[in-house]
Symmetry: C2
Subunit: 428 residues, 2 copies
């Protein structure tokens, strides 16, 4: 890891700079694929599944038999673990429910909001070397809690044309019913525009590679909502003499193993911690199956030594990490002063992997500095609010003239007239 | 208006189709301007203010004297009206505050969320023939309620280089301090990237023409959040024999006067209402200063006669209008069954203009069918949630093995190891 000691404030921006992701080079390819799926439907999806994923899929929809087979073939201990994790995630996300209050802003003027589930949502689960069943928990549970009436899931099958048993087990466990063996740009296109077999949805959720991310961005300008912009995963750790170097190293590595582009930062006020963590890193790195990936991403990662806790928290707020682990004697200070982060892990016994899998919080979090303006996924992402108002005769009598004056000042006379006619009607 | 009687369900999609807004043709121009602002700062902003708006602005920042002059020059009755409206809007938006609950998902595993104000937000107020001070209420009040630490406002000045008094009065009233006389693409660029005088922000809010909308869309792929995609304003009215034709016509016109591209739909189960409304429309249209605009947008608008209330609400849910007025003997039925709408106005004495200006609800609402997945603006748009967790030794003892099993099944061994090391430490 690169070690930077006592950087000047003017340098922070440069030190914290993330690699720029320029998706514009992919725009043309992705747009072409999306257009073809929009116009060609299933046939186009089949073509691109063959071209990009070397798959020859005739029927995209996963059958009842396949689901049952998957459930049967999932390891019993894994089933138990997923079940327990799902209960924690359910508990936490159910606690996010809020009540809408009806208020009378003026006598006779009643206003309120209603949270409504988005009707049709599409969940995308990437393929790759490992089945990401944990993401099904994170997307599927909030969707079922709020009661979206149609929830579909798209994920690319293995080269044998099947979905991993753990994927099917988890999807079934959280109550999903409709799965399609489609991946990549063509999956996003199918969910955005609909095909003969895949229904179009109102909002698309889920992670993916640069092609999937670009596809989501493009369809989001064509009337479909998306969850959030996605970038490589990140962790920042705030640690000092209170931290256990062995744990700090393990947490850095658990982020570094994600991919070559993972972002890892250790920020500390304690100079002697640096060497202890580095020694641990070397020791643990060699034991990892994904050590090549982890090694590479550590090379781009930084250990930053700061003068004091005030400067340190400013640095972290400037960075706005996706994950933030705090192992410090000043835990309370950092907890109270963190403004920009996706998810915060407090204390020596709270590894990021707890939130990735099982503690209850969502692992779909804003990367790339988006934590400054975006929340991690929560049940409100699967709902929208409708505002309502009801004004009585007394109400329009009280508020009417205010509206008339304001509408006239904005030169919107028909707006004014809609009120004036009603006021006149009251008098008659 | 076009009258369509008893359309088949298969035709709905076609009837409800909105004009497609293809912003891709603007992409090149807008990208060029944004790039130049990004690299050239104030100088580029000055250049485009001259080029697009024929303005020669040396100092963008509005001075204290200008603000005081604006306040002095605002009509007293208008001030009173704005003040009263602001209190209603404040009251309604304050009622949206929610509490975050801390929960223990397993013994020793504590999870909670915290709502944090987005630090830096930029509000855009379009120029044009009338000063849109009402939009300052709608954007500025929620921003100040949640406590964003920096709130800047950009709006183009009149040709004399000044901002309208009502703009300055309203901005000052809601507690804003920092205003810039910049409009169009260059304003969005300045707020997204920052210039020598304009600070960059984390999220940009506010309406605008196609150039502004496209600019917002482009900067949203460069690390800045935006409020929501914007399209032409719309109203749908559900009315039957309970409705007062004079009011229905007035409400249709108050939407139609917005612009040539405004969308207006009247859906009814009552055939005889149609003629009554049409007669009223003709009568009222001639009185309007903006009758040419209203006439034009009415030509593209539709009156749809439906068989029954069940079909009618399905049609409206399919359309997902920005504004929905319900003047019906079946008000309760429609209120309970509306799924997709931005804001709903119930009863004969609740004109849309009440929500546009003064009742308390926000007038920044999803258009173009986005009500299927987006909410109208509310205080949560000015905040983000950070999730927190704290796991005790007992907690990691309880949850550790669940995480280990799941991490291993996803082939993420460093994730597993971060837990295993902690569990081992417990035993020692």
């Amino acid at each position: 890891m690169q070690i930077i000691k006592y950087p000047q404030k003017g340098e922070w921006k440069f030190i914290l700079k993330r690699p720029e992701i320029d998706s514009s080079v992919l725009n043309l390819t992705v747009t072409q694929v999306l257009d073809e799926v929009k116009n060609g439907g299933d046939k186009a999806v089949r073509k691109f599944s063959h071209k990009f994923d070397n798959l020859d899929i005739q029927t995209f929809r996963v059958t009842e038999e396949e689901i049952n087979e998957g459930i049967k073939n999932t390891d019993t201990n894994l089933k138990k673990a997923i079940k327990k994790a799902s209960l924690n995630i359910k508990k936490f996300h159910e606690s996010q429910k809020t009540e809408n209050i009806k208020i009378e802003t003026m006598p006779g003027v009643h206003c309120w909001s209603k949270d409504m589930a988005i009707e049709k949502v599409g969940l995308y689960i990437p393929g790759g070397t490992a089945p990401l069943f944990s993401t099904i928990l994170m997307l599927g549970i909030p969707a079922t809690i709020v009661g979206c009436s149609k929830i579909i899931l798209c994920t690319p099958p293995s080269i044998n044309g099947k979905l991993a048993p753990a994927i099917l087990y988890t999807a079934n466990l959280v109550g999903l019913k409709e799965f399609y063996k489609i991946g990549g740009i063509q999956a996003i296109g199918a969910m955005a525009y609909g095909t003969e077999t895949v229904p179009s949805v109102d909002k698309i959720f889920g992670p993916g590679n640069r092609y999937v991310t670009t596809a989501k961005q493009i369809v989001s300008t064509h009337g479909v909502a998306i969850d959030m912009p996605a970038g490589p995963s990140e962790v920042a750790i705030i640690a000092d003499e209170y931290a256990i170097p062995e744990f700090v190293a393990a947490d850095l590595l658990s982020q570094a193993e994600h991919g070559y582009d993972s972002q890892v930062i250790l920020a500390t006020t304690n100079n002697s911690l640096i060497e202890l963590v580095e020694t641990e890193l070397k020791k643990q790195l060699n034991e990892l199956p994904r050590k090549e990936i982890a090694k590479k991403s550590l090379e781009n990662s930084k250990i930053i030594l700061m003068q004091n806790k005030e400067e340190l928290i400013d640095l972290i707020n400037e960075y706005a990490p996706e994950h933030l682990i705090i192992s410090s004697k000043h835990e309370k200070f950092y907890e109270e002063n963190i403004i920009n982060a996706g998810s915060v892990f407090l204390g020596n016994y709270t590894p990021e992997s707890a939130g990735d899998y099982a503690s209850g919080t969502n692992h779909t979090l804003p990367t790339n500095g988006y934590a400054k303006a975006f929340s991690g996924l929560n049940i409100s992402d699967f709902m929208k609010k409708i505002s309502f108002q009801r004004i009585s005769k007394k109400g329009i009598h009280n508020i009417g003239n205010i509206i008339e004056i304001m509408a006239e000042a904005e030169h919107l006379h028909a707006h004014k007239n809609a009120v004036s006619l009603r006021l006149k009607n009251l008098d008659s």
